[in-house]
Subunit: 228 residues, 2 copies
């Protein structure tokens, strides 16, 4: 489903090149439930952003569902993201002027799902993530962990082929994160949705069937050195 | 240092009252290293915002360093925050147009600390929190956990009487959070800085000398029911 070949991502910091990713080779098969773990600043968000087509590699190739992201136009990239990928951002990226319900249904609406079907799906999903009764709140009227759950609901509502979740449990308590992970494992098992998480949370790592360790922009071979 | 008497905080949700805090009685002594724990939505951020004078209670009294926050003018409240309280926000609240260095020195600058002394203190502190070399980056050029550490450096730079830290380790790996907690415990021990954390992180709860459990806006008596 996902292939990275010798991927490098460099940023410029006042002219000095910074290697956020330093030669990544990686393959993710359909149906995986995989975690990318590593210290703060090791390149997890950068990796997920490249796979999600939100950014382009400096060198190397990123292919998702057989498509090389660097040869796609912006329109084709946003179609790929809309129909194939659900993204949970580290900072949630909710739209402030839309309610929790409107944020969660946003992707289904863009996909043209009929209003009645959208409503059933979103109301049930918001209830499942513990936000029943909070549907008409704006993001600024929700706690940090409540906003995070709206972002998760939005990403999984359309049951995409691939969900990229950047630190999805950072701001929720252990009971809530256990039920969120149950929900995602169910989607993975019953609908074959592929999940790629970035996390520091041991509870997420415990449930992963595969852990990819990142350090200073490189993958650490398994069993090599202390994990996080 | 801090006293709350029968504090209630109500928000209006489309006209319906929502009780974020439902009758809180609490005393925090100088020098405490205390955690407020509880599920997502239980009222932790609301509690810290009231103690920090960033919001007013609907009913009841909040006193910090002997001053009742509801009788202070806005100018007196911001003086209290500037000289007595360091705040680490759940969403960091860094100023996007200032670099990491400028964000971290902001409070010391407002307090009128001489430039040379400020520079020494901030450069050493940013290095201690693992951000050496990143001082001239803007927030958008930093990872989530790097931004969080700039916010922590800003809050502790002036060694305030009280530090309110809302989920300060949510976006950092366990090694980094251990070193941040060591730094804060040192400040608590050597300079008598009082720390009040809100957290879901077991590593923070382990180091707390006191845990206050919050559920649905009320304090759960110790030893009563399952903790988080
Ligand atoms: N402006 C607001 N209007 C309406 N309700 C609000 C507002 N701000 C917060 N709330 C509600 O008050 C309750 C407590 O919120 P608070 O942010 O204090 O929780 P929290 O314990 O910090 O949660 P988290 O761990 O998810 O950050 C939540 O149910 C939230 O939805
Ligand atoms: N726009 C940018 N300009 C310069 N450097 C950047 C930029 N964005 C990210 N970086 C750097 O690239 C490195 C990797 O960042 P990334 O956000 O991928 O890390 P991360 O593993 O997600 O960290 P965290 O766990 O703290 O979220 C970091 O050192 C960061 O400072
Ligand atoms: Mg990140
Ligand atoms: Mg909170």
């Amino acid at each position: 489903l996902i292939t990275l070949e010798q991927v490098v991502k460099e940023y410029r910091d006042n002219g000095v090149p910074v290697r956020a990713l330093d030669g990544i080779d990686l393959t993710i098969e359909p149906g995986e439930f995989t975690v990318v773990a590593g210290p703060s600043g090791s390149g997890k968000s950068t990796l997920l952003n490249l796979i999600g087509g939100l950014d382009q590699p400096t060198r190397g190739r990123v292919s998702v569902a057989g498509m090389d992201t660097s040869v796609l136009s912006n329109i084709e990239l946003s179609r790929m993201r809309l129909y194939k990928i659900g993204f949970v951002f580290q900072a949630y990226n909710l739209i402030p002027v839309l309610t929790a319900y409107e944020n969660a249904e946003y992707i289904l609406m863009l996909q043209g799902t009929p209003a009645q079907k959208r409503r059933e799906r979103i109301m049930s999903l918001l209830s499942t993530v513990g936000l029943k009764g909070l549907e008409n709140r704006f993001p600024r009227e929700l706690s940090g962990g409540q906003q995070q759950r709206v972002a998760i609901a939005r990403a999984i509502a359309s049951e995409p082929q691939l969900v990229l979740a950047d630190e999805p449990t950072a701001n929720v308590d252990s009971k809530t994160s256990a039920s969120l992970l149950d929900l995602m494992m169910e989607l993975n098992r019953d609908k074959g949705v592929t999940f790629l998480f970035s996390t520091h949370d041991p509870a997420v790592m415990e449930r992963a069937r595969r852990i990819i360790r990142l350090r200073d922009g490189r993958i650490v071979p398994d069993g090599d050195g202390p994990g996080d």
